[in-house]
């Protein structure tokens, strides 16, 4: 009876999937109960709500831990583990393999979102009118994630996921993790990204709830929750900034071409919520202080979440590579569903309210040069920057769908449109700081002077490198005008901005005894000055990056005892190669199976290693027993010869027999001269290693001066035909010297030596901003505690 019942359970229903089904079911129940409680204004379902939301969260947490456990132990019966892990990986990368693909990432995101949402259900701080709707919406998002994961589960067994795999098949090893992801920066990048995303679900729900309440003529909890929402937005900003920074550091070092930002769709997509989040923080701060933005602040908070979903669509759906893979699989369709629903709620509701009930009349400022309008210009500019990026991703899809015309979007679109906006923001931001200090005449005078200086600087280009771009004569006028501006034009606005914000800090913090206030103000200062530093560095690094290339040949002769000295093509550098080595992983000795393993490995031509324990002749064939086992090597006598007691490695064709008797051959491995060798002289050519790592020791001179020395390496990953490389980066105050070889072998290598000016100022500026945000968080927290 039990047997028939069990056989009715489909093979795809594993324990992990069951946990997700439980989460989807209880999550849906909690969503509905919370929604009903909101409508009926009742608290009678408090207990079942606590229970269902709790179960949903715990199920997801357990599912996530269980998946992590499967990765750690290497349970390759799970297709997702099989596809994204392998035995040879370090523990850290086994754990981060969980986030290497869609299913695991969404599970992690769902789990964190569930924790955040359920926290607001349990905590006594988040009660009051409208709170049930906030919680219902948050858990609704969790439920949608869970449903997506049921249809495309990270716990799908391998025999379901791959056709032609026998039941109960256990793959001996996983198929590995993308070698580019095997990096510490990439290990922490996904968790902090998703933590940041998860924190943004409550601002979304809170914003939507606020507009639902406005439509129903009710009050909402927006005002009450505002302090905690600002806190969440700030933490989320900090995490998202860190995520982007780590991604950029990874791209700089690991991708090996020295780029940290290339306006790739994935990079652009994650910048959009960051820009919008920054705009929202400005508006929400203003709202909490002056009551302005009483419609925009909640709307902006709500819109961040759909923007994140949009970023996920770009990253995960594949629409920006091929329109056809759009809704393939449950996650593609689910993400699309979330995008449409959250987009309508977050954009549609506020827009409808604004159109029906008129605008936000809280600002009565009639003076253009006062706080309000100037601040507003900055908020709008952030939104414009976000729109430039959104549009750059969207319009090729829009245009090719409508007209069938395919267009390309280059870096010029993003750089040349964003640049004037950034320049204007720096000037207006500086003006704001001066107005804030009630120095109106100085503010106007200084702003006019800086604007004039900026315009003049735009025409000063000591060399061709200074131009922002290199537009062709047939390019549209905007690209020609902006492209022919000198990058010197960023310097006056950035210095003005940093200077005025420093002055503002001094005037505000001076004489105020409160340490927490000073801390908060210092945080604000660091964020703004850090932004100015970063903007200058980013503007200069690419325009002034200069590359030379060096070709080195005959690496196999290096070190005994010659060194190779080559000059770069432009004569700027001399490279001295003092050593060359190559390693294979695994080596043939490591890769060879023991005789016992041969019988279970299901390989047609196994590589086997063992000691010859007996030799015999059967029907003109020489055979040799390995390790006293049932596995014998075999070969033609004029091709192979064995010696008892010798340890050999051989590859050959496997023939199996049914033999019950011990010591009788159960299987022969037919080999020959080329495929056979001793352990000291193994048949290396018949083995394909997973990775071939070529390293060369080099010293780079510029003229007579030593620039850098060290090891550069390039790895061939044979199983997925990928290359990775380890550059040599000499970091310095004025910039980095970056040496990389995209391919190295015994014949030779092509090296690229690039100078990146101000590279470290980018990292420095971003870290300064992050430190500033931490100070702001801590300072404000202390102030509120007092």
């Amino acid at each position: 009876m039990m047997g028939t019942l069990l056989s009715m359970v489909p093979a795809s229903l594993t324990g992990g999937t069951l946990l997700i089904i439980v989460a989807a079911f209880t999550g849906a129940l909690a969503t509905v109960l919370l929604f009903y409680s909101y409508l009926a204004e009742t608290d009678e379902f408090r207990k079942p709500i606590l229970l269902t939301s709790g179960i949903a969260t715990v199920s997801l947490v357990i599912a996530h831990l269980y998946l992590t456990y499967q990765f750690i132990v290497g349970d390759y019966t799970n297709a997702y583990v099989y596809q994204n892990s392998a035995d040879h990986l370090d523990l850290l990368y086994k754990i981060t393999g969980v986030y290497a693909n869609h299913e695991g990432s969404i599970l992690f995101w769902a789990t964190l979102t569930a924790i955040v949402a359920t926290y607001t259900v349990y905590s006594s701080r988040f009660q009051g009118l409208g709170s049930r709707l906030v919680q219902s919406l948050s858990l609704g998002v969790v439920t949608t994630f869970a449903v997506m994961l049921v249809t495309q589960s990270p716990f799908t067994p391998i025999e379901v996921a791959r056709s032609g795999v026998p039941d109960n098949y256990v793959p001996p090893d996983g198929s590995g993790l993308n070698p580019l992801l095997i990096d510490p920066w990439m290990a922490i990048h996904p968790p902090i990204t998703f933590a940041s995303y998860a924190l943004l679900v409550v601002p979304f729900a809170l914003g939507v709830t606020h507009f639902v309440a406005l439509f129903r003529g009710q009050d909402s909890v927006f005002r009450e929750w505002l302090p905690s929402m600002i806190l969440w937005l700030r933490v989320s900003w900090l995490l998202l900034t860190a995520a982007i920074l780590f991604g950029a550091i990874w791209a700089y070092g690991v991708l090996g071409w020295g780029g940290f930002w290339s306006w790739d769709p994935v990079e652009t997509a994650v910048l959009i919520p960051w820009l919008w989040l920054t705009a929202t923080l400005h508006a929400a701060n203003r709202y909490s202080k002056t009551g302005e933005y009483k419609l925009f602040a909640p709307a902006a908070a709500a819109i961040i979440f759909p923007l994140i979903i949009f970023a996920t669509t770009v990253v995960r759906s594949g629409v920006f590579r091929s329109v056809h893979s759009f809704a393939a699989g449950g996650i593609g369709a689910g993400v699309l569903f979330l995008l449409v629903v959250t987009g309508i709620l977050a954009v549609g509701l506020p827009l409808a309210y604004w159109l029906l009930n008129g605008g936000d009349e809280s600002s009565t400022d009639r003076d253009w040069l006062s706080h309000g309008p100037i601040f507003h210009a900055v908020v709008l500019s952030f939104a414009v920057l976000a729109f430039i990026s959104v549009w750059g991703l969207l319009f090729p899809v829009v245009r090719s769908t409508i007209t069938g015309v395919e267009v390309s979007v280059g870096q010029d679109h993003y750089n040349l449109w964003s640049y004037p906006v950034v320049v204007a923001m720096l000037i207006v931001g500086g003006l704001y700081a001066l107005l804030d200090m009630r120095k109106r005449r100085l503010a106007i005078g200084a702003t006019v002077a800086v604007t004039v200086a900026t315009l003049i600087a735009a025409f000063i280009a000591p060399s061709g490198n200074w131009y922002l771009s290199d537009p062709a004569a047939h390019d549209p006028i905007v690209y020609r005008v902006v492209g022919n501006m000198s990058v010197l034009s960023i310097v006056p606005p950035a210095l003005f901005f940093a200077g005025t914000w420093t002055a503002r800090f001094v005037s505000r913090a001076k004489g105020v005894p409160s340490r927490s206030f000073q801390m908060r103000e210092a945080g604000i200062l660091l964020i703004h000055v850090g932004a100015a530093v970063m903007i200058i560095a980013i503007s200069f690094i690419y325009l002034f990056a200069a590359s030379s290339s060096v070709v080195v040949v005959g690496l196999e002769d290096v070190g005994n005892p010659d060194t190779i000295v080559e000059e770069s093509d432009d004569g700027q550098y001399t490279v001295e190669v003092t050593g060359y080595d190559s390693d294979t992983t695994p080596g043939v000795e490591e890769a060879a199976l023991t005789p016992e393993e041969v019988l279970t490995a299901y390989e047609d031509t196994p590589l086997v290693r063992g000691e010859v324990t007996a030799i015999d002749q059967i029907e003109g064939t020489t055979v040799a027993q390995l390790d006293g086992s049932d596995i014998w090597l075999a070969g033609s006598p004029n091709s192979v010869s064995f010696e008892e007691g010798e340890e050999v490695i051989a590859r050959g064709t496997l023939f199996e027999f049914d033999s019950e008797a011990d010591g009788e051959a159960e299987a022969y491995v037919y080999t020959d001269e080329e495929n056979l060798g001793t352990v000291s002289d193994p048949p290396s050519d018949v083995h394909t290693p997973r990775v071939i790592d070529h390293q060369m020791d080099i010293t780079v001179y510029e003229g007579d001066e030593k620039v850098t020395s060290g090891t550069i390496a390039a790895q061939d990953h044979t199983d997925n035909e990928m290359n990775t490389n380890d550059p040599l980066i000499q970091r310095g105050l004025t910039g980095d010297t970056y040496v990389v070889a995209t391919e190295i072998d015994e014949i030779g290598a092509g090296l690229t030596i690039t100078e990146y000016p101000l590279a470290n100022q980018i990292w420095f500026g971003v870290i300064m901003g992050m430190v500033g945000m931490v100070l702001l968080l801590v300072g404000d927290r202390r102030r509120n505690a007092n």
């Binding site: 009639r366 309008p373 729109f387 750059g392 245009r399 395919e406």
Partner: protein, 153 residues
């Protein structure tokens, strides 16, 4: 109207204008009739190119390319921008075939054994091969080949 409101409206109008302008300013990669390698108009349909060649009594230059081929990029940035080469190209009917998505050009590509980009083949309107140039060549060599093609036609 408060400054804030006016500012918002101005920015919205500006954003719409930017959207329209930037979409139309983007370089066109291909439309229904032509593809624009190196900013030059190339036919994509071999039959169309061959019939134009017959009408105008011109040879056809077939250019096999892909998006990822850096040597194709060199051709497009340098060779096709060379004025002398452009004058010669005017005497040809141009046909560009993306080897990753050859479409109607797939049978021609297999006739020409075009496996790797870049590759140039000169044919007449009967698909008779007049000249062939595989891989990358310097501008002078490319020019010579175009001249020889015109001479044999």
């Amino acid at each position: 109207m408060t400054p804030r409101k006016l500012l918002t409206i101005l920015v919205l109008v500006g954003a719409l204008g930017f959207g329209y302008y930037s979409m139309n300013a983007a370089p066109v990669m291909s439309d229904q009739d032509y593809t624009y390698q190196g900013g030059i108009e190339w036919h994509e349909d071999p039959d169309e190119a061959l019939s134009v060649a017959e009408q105008e009594d011109k040879p056809v230059l077939v250019y096999y390319w892909t998006t990822w081929c850096t040597y194709c990029q060199d051709y497009e940035d340098d060779h096709y921008q060379n004025e002398e080469i452009q004058e010669l190209l005017d005497e040809y009917v141009l046909l560009a075939i993306n080897l990753d998505e050859p479409g109607d050009g797939s049978s021609l590509a297999s006739d020409h054994d075009a496996l790797y980009p870049p590759m140039h083949v000169i044919i007449d309107d009967n698909e008779e091969i007049l000249g062939q140039l595989g891989g990358f060549t310097e501008e002078d060599r490319f020019k010579e080949e175009l001249e020889t093609g015109l001479a044999t036609h």
